[in-house]
């Protein structure tokens, strides 16, 4: 289960605040995954006191609203990433960035599909730069794209370009995964699926033996 509590002293009307929170949740908490299980209790509650003395924000279409939205996105993304970073048994955070999609929502869906893939997560834990599993998870996300436009990189190592697998330094790629895991850092997977303007990201973690151990013992 994830729980979230967000507070601000911005002055904002109810309908604008509710819309802002929904957008921010979709860009953050709804883009993380550890094990693919959606809890019975997940919830985020956000309260705005209005005590900052700032001007009232009563519309989404102005710079103040866009600025507050960006702040809200940042706080929720910061918290959402720390949940994925702390995934049960995890040795690293996995950040999946997708670009070239038709819309932000399409890109987000592909990103989350890859972040949710048990085989991709297990490969990261095994320090295996398994671009095939990444391509596969992007392919079953339910978003149509031209596979000949698929581009995949791991950190700054290009693994696939224009749908063609590239020769790459496997030892260096595996070492990137290992050193990142050793410091509980962030593994970056970048994917492009076309020429569209839509981009999005998702966060997950690697799948270790400990995940099974922890959850074999934690019972209802």
């Amino acid at each position: 289960t994830m729980l979230g509590v967000i507070t601000t002293d911005a002055l904002v009307t109810s309908d604008v605040w509710r819309k802002m929170v929904r957008v921010a949740v979709n860009r953050s908490f709804n883009q993380i995954t550890v094990d693919g299980d959606t809890s019975t209790n997940d919830c985020v509650i956000a309260l705005a006191s209005g005590l900052s003395g700032a001007n009232k924000i009563s519309s989404l279409n102005n710079s103040d609203a866009e600025h507050l939205q960006a702040c809200l996105d940042a706080v929720m993304q910061g918290l959402a990433k720390s949940i994925a970073w702390d995934g049960e048994g995890a040795t690293c955070l996995i950040e999946v960035k997708v670009s070239g999609a038709g819309t932000e929502a399409d890109a987000a869906k592909v990103a989350r599909s890859v972040a949710s893939s048990s085989l991709t997560k297990a490969a990261v834990y095994g320090r295996d730069p398994n671009w095939g599993r990444i391509a596969c998870a992007a392919g079953y996300a339910g978003i149509p794209f031209n596979p000949n436009k698929l581009r995949i990189s791991l950190g700054d190592i290009l693994l696939m370009e224009s749908g063609q697998p590239l020769p790459f330094d496997r030892a260096a790629a595996s070492n990137y995964l290992r050193t990142t895991g050793e410091k509980h850092g962030t593994v970056i997977i970048q994917i492009s699926i076309g020429d569209g303007l839509g981009s999005g990201q998702a966060w997950g973690c690697d799948l270790s033996y400990d995940y099974v151990k922890i959850n074999a013992e934690y019972t209802t």
Binding site: G4, D9, R18, D42, G50, S52, Q77, I83
Partner: protein, 213 residues
């Protein structure tokens, strides 16, 4: 006299901050950083094992504009059903009570009544309307909350409320379950020429694939 806020860092450390870059800077204080908010966390005897804080409270001095996003899992927990109802009823709220240990999910009518009893008890203590008190729970699915120890702890929890960093940190630890770190962030930025703060806390480590709406 309620003991001063314990130093919660000896329970679990804070998560590394993974805040995106932008026209803001990080400030301490998590959920209590923004003006008007107070927080507290304490051990209320709800956890199955150990004495890590397990009860958190966040309050606002004024009627705060409220918003929420909730699981789309059909087997939604009693506090989720209660909060959705409360947000339908009122556009503002004043307090959020959070317990760890029991999820109060799949607990039927009795579980829903437990949420009502807790919100009413806290509302009475804070002299609020019950629908201004929102509730979140996390822990074992199928178990009702340990209501007696929870209700007994409320006066102490209210007395611990503070707008200090420690108050916010205690609350962030109290909402954790299998987490290895607590998660708390706050930022400050200029919105329309005025300094505005946005803060938050979260928990989560397992059963994580949120689909909230």
């Amino acid at each position: 006299v309620v003991s001063a806020q314990q130093d919660v860092s000896n329970y679990i450390p804070a998560a590394p901050i993974l805040l995106p870059e932008g026209p803001w800077h990080q400030v301490p204080g998590g959920v209590a950083a923004a003006k008007g908010f107070k927080a507290a966390g304490m051990y209320g005897g709800l956890r199955a094992v150990g004495e890590k804080p397990d009860l958190a409270l966040v309050t606002c001095d004024v009627d705060a504009i409220s918003a929420g996003a909730f699981t789309t899992n059909v087997v939604a927990a009693a506090p989720v059903l209660y909060c959705k109802e409360a947000l339908e009823t009122s556009t503002t709220a004043r307090a959020i009570l959070i317990n760890a240990g029991q999820a109060n999910a799949a607990t039927g009518d009795a579980g829903y009544q437990d949420v009502i009893d807790c919100s009413h008890a806290l509302a009475e203590l804070l002299q609020l309307k019950p629908e201004q008190v929102l509730i979140e729970s996390t822990g074992v699915i199928g178990q009702r909350i340990k209501k007696e120890p929870l209700l007994k702890s409320l006066p102490d929890l209210v007395n611990l409320l503070s707008s200090t960093v420690q108050g916010a940190d205690s609350a962030a630890v109290a909402i954790t379950t299998t987490d290895l770190v607590s998660k708390s962030i706050a930022i400050e930025s200029e919105v329309g020429g005025t300094r505005v703060r946005v803060g938050g806390m979260a928990k989560g480590s397992g059963m994580i694939h949120p689909n909230m709406a």
